[in-house]
């Protein structure tokens, strides 16, 4: 993802959690709400996707430190994201130490953007009500 795209995404999330200001949109009724993506709704998976959205790549250790989770937990969730083709993992050796490096795929980026849109929509609806 290019720097501009990363900045747009960060700016957008920043705006969504800020003071709502005057309401100008007319949210849709509850029945119209689309189904949410369960793959990234889980906290650790959402954290992995969010971190990778503004970093070109992150190592397994970076993600573990950032998300304050265990090796096993992170490994399971990262695998689920890989299975959904939201992230890719490349494994290589640095000297004799094995390393895993994760990157966000275009599908993962789209999934995060869609998820943020849906969350914003839900919040708008609630504020309206």
């Amino acid at each position: 993802m290019g720097d501009r795209a990363k900045l747009r995404l960060a700016r957008r999330v920043s705006k969504s959690t800020a003071d709502p200001g005057p309401r100008t949109t007319h949210p849709r009724p509850a029945e119209d709400l689309p189904e949410f993506d369960r793959t990234i709704h889980e906290r650790i998976r959402l954290g992995i996707i969010s971190a990778l959205a503004i970093n070109e790549s992150l190592s397994f250790n970076d993600l573990r430190r950032l998300l304050k989770t265990t090796d096993g937990n992170l490994s399971v969730h990262a695998r689920k994201l890989e299975d959904a083709h939201y992230v890719t993992c490349s494994k290589f050796f640095e000297g004799r130490i094995p390393r895993s490096e994760y990157r966000l795929t275009p599908a993962g980026k789209r999934a995060l953007e869609k998820y943020i849109e849906q969350m914003e929509d839900l919040i708008r609806r609630t504020r309206k009500n």
Partner: protein
């Protein structure tokens, strides 16, 4: 029990089988996404170009302060310090705005919390040493405290910042033991190091 006799399968139907989180969870999720982005970001609130400008003004100040008396020397560098603060804050605000993150967001706040105690100590030392007429020790004290502030403030930021802090501390140590070279080492530190690391930060970390 009649359902047991019927031939077709029976599944419990939930009124809302589609998955929808609560609005509160939606807000928490968005906050979580923002926090994770901030924590994982290599964004540094420090502006590289701002540092370059600070470096240039520091070199000008060193040239202007060289022929002055102790009092004049101190006045020139205090004006330069105020100017540097204005440049740094303006440049950081501009960079934070461009990046879509508020200046008081994670990286900016962490830097300020680590950096400000050293600034306060530097102010106290400046007043105390100036009153005792020991202005020749000020270059070493300023450079060392600035270095310490950048090391602690930059601990949670990009690795370049602590590296710059260590360089300032090294120049400050020299200045403390070679007070006659104080003004030149101020130019090397606040001028040279700011320019070198400023260009580096600007090229690697978005301005």
């Amino acid at each position: 029990m009649l359902w047991m006799l019927e031939g077709h399968s029976h599944r419990v139907r939930r009124p809302h089988s589609r998955f929808r989180p609560a609005p509160q969870r939606a807000l928490e999720d968005l906050r979580y996404i923002r926090d994770t982005m901030e924590r994982s970001s290599t964004f540094t609130a420090t502006s590289g170009w701002g540092q370059v400008l600070m470096g240039l003004t520091a070199i000008a100040a060193a040239l202007a302060a060289r022929p002055q008396s102790a009092r004049g020397w101190l006045s020139v560098w205090l004006v330069e310090a105020l100017l540097a603060v204005v440049i740094a804050v303006t440049a950081m605000q501009a960079k934070a705005r461009r990046s879509g993150l508020p200046l008081t967001s994670g990286p900016g706040r962490k830097f300020a919390l680590g950096f400000l105690p050293c600034v306060v100590v530097a102010i106290v030392f400046t007043i105390a040493l100036a009153r005792l007429g020991l202005t020749r020790l000020l270059p070493g004290v300023w450079l060392l405290l600035y270095g310490a502030g950048v090391i602690t403030g930059g601990a949670f930021s990009i690795p370049l910042l602590p590296a710059m802090g260590f360089c300032f501390a090294a120049v400050g140590t020299l200045a403390l033991f070679l007070p006659a070279w104080g003004n030149a080492l101020m130019a090397a530190g606040f001028g040279g190091l700011h320019i070198v690391f400023g260009v580096w930060i600007a090229s690697q970390h978005g301005g």
